[in-house]
Amino acid sequence: MNATNRTVVVTGIGATTPLGGDSASTWEGLLAGRSGVRPLDDERFADLPVRMAATAAVEPDQVLPRPVARKLDRSAQFALIAAREAWADAGYTGPAGEDTAEDGSALIDPDRLGTVIASGIGGVTTLLDQYDVLKEKGVRRVSPHTVPMLMPNGPSANVGLEVGAQAGVHTPVSACASGAEAIGYAVEMIRTGRADVVVAGGTEAAIHPLPIVAFANMMAMSKNNDEPEKASRPYDTARDGFVLGEGAGVVILESAEHAAKRGAKVYCEVLGQGLSADSHHIAQPEPTGRGIAAAVQNLLDATDLKPAELVHLNAHATSTPQGDVAEIKALRRVLGDDVDHIAISGTKSMTGHLLGGAGGIETVATVLALYHRQAPPTINVENLDDEVDADIVRDEPRKLPEGTIAAINNSFGFGGHNVVLAFRTA
């Protein structure tokens, strides 16, 4: 079973986001250029400097039965919903080992199945809520489910239990690059022969007064409370920070042989990843894009991606003054004139920034962009920043070329983590 450089493909997708409760409604929202950012009307947010967020379009406890939902942190609820959609989309109808092909053989053996689902800050709302319970109601009332709910590996572990994964259940943590790093880790699990199928993605549920105030005090968040739907505006001259979002995006990654053997639908190929670290500042982006450029170069060195076939980028583009420009500078530095034929989408303009969930839902968006050959728009770019020397898809979706095409998805995180994932039409 050991193998290296096996081809990895995407066979299933799932999402629950500020734009919709599944991947189809999310994709429709992205193409329509809809903002998922809404005012936070709850009184807990009334006196905060930021009173808006991209809240989930569908409340997870309306999807999951109560006995299931009450034992899961909201981030694990999102992950489970997205994973169930992706698992079914890939053609699996039950847990590993129980799901059989027509000849009675197992569609996937439990010991060949893994999960890698990440989040940036884990079960932070569980932690904060249970501390409130301890203070207000006493020791006895703190939930015995608190630890499994708050641990950042909870979403990956719960999805692993659901599908019966025994090859490994993992959770890389790298702030806002976590979801992308999870997908890269999953690709390596298949490449190195540890698994044939991996459920991979990112999730986040941190819309709570404390994280919001903490991010706002870093001067990282938009304070455009008067026009929430216009607050997330990557590349626009008036951008003033990111808008917090919540939800999850999950894909089923599979070795091409395994997918072919069971006749699975294939969305696209995953070429691999490029990684680097800035070693510059704990939270500020390196202004020249040196670290990002290194990640893109590492991707080119590690895969057979040809810059000429690169037609789409789902950018990190969080709508911060420094970060959006550094990313474009980095691309120019490595790709030169090849940047000119890349249609760049800043989907955080619509979904907000899902932190560790971003790499998950943006992978789903990138996969669908290749599959449907359409790049989603970047909304709210009213005055394009002069320093953004690239082709930003604005207002309307952009048709992508026929033939073999490739796309990359960038995710960067506090701590200086840079992750670039590459995909190509199958």
Binding site: P65, R66, P67, R140, S143, P144, H145, P148
Partner: protein, 82 residues
Amino acid sequence: MAATQEEIVAGLAEIVNEIAGIPVEDVQLDKSFTDDLDVDSLSMVEVVVAAEERFDVKIPDDDVKNLKTVGDATKYILEHQG
């Protein structure tokens, strides 16, 4: 006014329904929390805390392990309620 056996079983059934989603009519004296009612060791702690509040009884951690069935819990509550 102390609860009767029927009231305790009915109360436990509501608690188990809330925590594990098991229909109240399935919560009978002979049923095992773990094997029949989908109450794992963590959820059992929740059942115990909810029962303590509802029936004004203290159930120390050392006694919880002896409460295997709904009947065990009902008997314990009958004997110890305030």
